[in-house]
Amino acid sequence: MVSETLKASFSLLVFPGLLFLSSFGMFSEWLDRKLYARMQYRVGPPWFQPFADFVKLMGKEVIIPEAADEALFKILPSFAGAAVCTSILMIPVWGPSSVYSFQGDLIAVIYLLTIPTVSFFLGGWSSTSPYAAIGSLRVLTQLFAYEVPLLMAVLGPAILSGTWSITGISAFFASHPALLPVNLIGLVVSLVALQGKLERVPFDIPHGETEIVGGAFTEYSGRLLAFFLLAMDMEMVVGAALISAVFLGGAMGLPGFLGFLLFVLKSIMIIFILSAMRALMARIRIDQMISFCWKILAPLSLLQVLINLIVKGTI
């Protein structure tokens, strides 16, 4: 009983939980910023920059607007962080199996990843400042736009492999690597939808710096802001891990440390693609985003599901 609890808290807090996620999150934020800068002929920050930003923000004063609901305001960053840490437990990181896996944990992970978005919305709404209100409305509107294509895109591999658990899906692709290119359209759709979930250009509308100052985060400062930003970094790692496990075969059956290395390599590749997307495009408007997601991304993901059904029928 005690060893179970110890094992659970180790996984949740150290590996692959809070400590591992926050350091890997800071590393991936550094990688993203450095790649973004080098693509623009600039130098980019040194490796310890995200950590230095975190430490600086922890030391600053927290100012809470008078009309805001104080308890809700303070507790929201921890909601976001907790949801993201829980979701990594179901994605295979060390070797081909995750810490906890059960049928349907694919849906559970996607559900857990919407909790940070809802907490951004609540954070902006409870700030009661006009910029934050508009930002939080945009967060919810964007959620309606990208969530459906993302869910349908990950549905494809689930249908092909016949199981609902992420560990099962990556084990299936590890044993049938020739079936990986079938999911190409789904991979592209889910990368674009992930860019929307992480609120990065071209979809950083809720956080649009030149339009609404800080969006949902306008009134946040000090350690609350530090934890929100850390939650966003961790979300990037979890999103990349989810895509590599579902579409790219995860650890490919290799045990232990080699599997972990492969996981890190695939995450870095996905982060590279995300940075390139960030450098290539301008920010689009919210109505243009909704029409883009519903008119282009959703039909593409439907097409992917159709292809997978046909392939499943033939093998």
Partner: protein
Amino acid sequence: MSKITIPLGPQHPALKEPGNFMLVLEGEQIVGATVRLGYNHRGIEKACEDRSFIQDLYLIERVCGICSHSHTTCFCMATEDAAKIEVPRRAQAIRVLVGELERVHSHLLWLGVAGHEIGFDTLFMYSWRDREQVLDCLEMISGNRVHYALNTIGGVRRDITLEQKAEILKRMDILEERTKYYIQLATQEPTVLARAKGVGHLPTEEAKKRGAVGPTARASNLPFDVRKDDPYLLYDELDFKVITSDSCDVFGRLVVRVFELLESFKLIRQVLNDLPEGPISVKVPRKLPAGEGVGHYEAPRGEDIHYVRTNGTEKPDRVKVRAPTLANFSSIAYMLEGGYLADAPIVIAAIDPCFSCTDRAISIRTSTEGEYSLSWEDLRKLGIEFYRSQGIDFSRVAK
């Protein structure tokens, strides 16, 4: 949905300089906009009356950082007009050269700022990297990257040597290639097109009614360009086109500015290959004779007008500066209404605002007559009388 009023306030990441736009929003749509100015008023016109003409040159130069040469040249033209001084041809050619280099600098800077406003930071970094070429040219000629201080009353202060000329021509070739790349990028990148087409619509009639000038007017199909309408310095001998576009929106303004870059390269090459010989300035007495002078100039943002009145001493009696952004201001309120909040920064940035130039007005009340205003007919008659006395022929102008 209820209406909320958001201040796109004096301090905002979208604005490079302070100005206040109170937007009344319903959801994401703007239903009303009020524009307020005045945050950058420094009392320059009054300060000019206390200083001699040579000191005023440097004060007027600092009205704006990017159009500094426009303001100095316009002031010099107004003073030389008032004191009836003839400027040698070589000095005029050098003024044209630096003016066109400044136009290149300003339009490249605008391209970067517009990219930043729509969230396209890569375009921002790339165009500012190319702007370094122009800044190096200007530093080589004049000694400073902005605020070139090349003009003096009666000519220019520094000459251009042959190796500087070769260096400038080399850099213009590099820049022309990069500009063609930007033209392709602006017309083919789907996110830029999505943000710029159909945004900030200003139809031709409205632009004429609200007195738009510069690229804002030219993008609404009004071919107003002081270099062609009222040629000054050497522009009547040079060959260039006035670029207009009939899309009347932000995309049109982008296209007009980028094509104007190409025209400026052509002008710079023409001036450099054909530089007239001669002195670079004439000696001007310190006390200028009494008179009035007006100077027009096509600054990168539009038409710049200076008025100088001298009274026989070494300090001017009255200096008035009307910068182009002030003329474009009333168009902003029209363009913002009916648009989205997300479009507000790019619409404001598309007229290339320079709030430091703008805050200049003083209203003078005389104690005996009180404040009076001239009607449009009276103003037009006053203008015609003034120009007739200068010997300008009106037969080409329609009634």
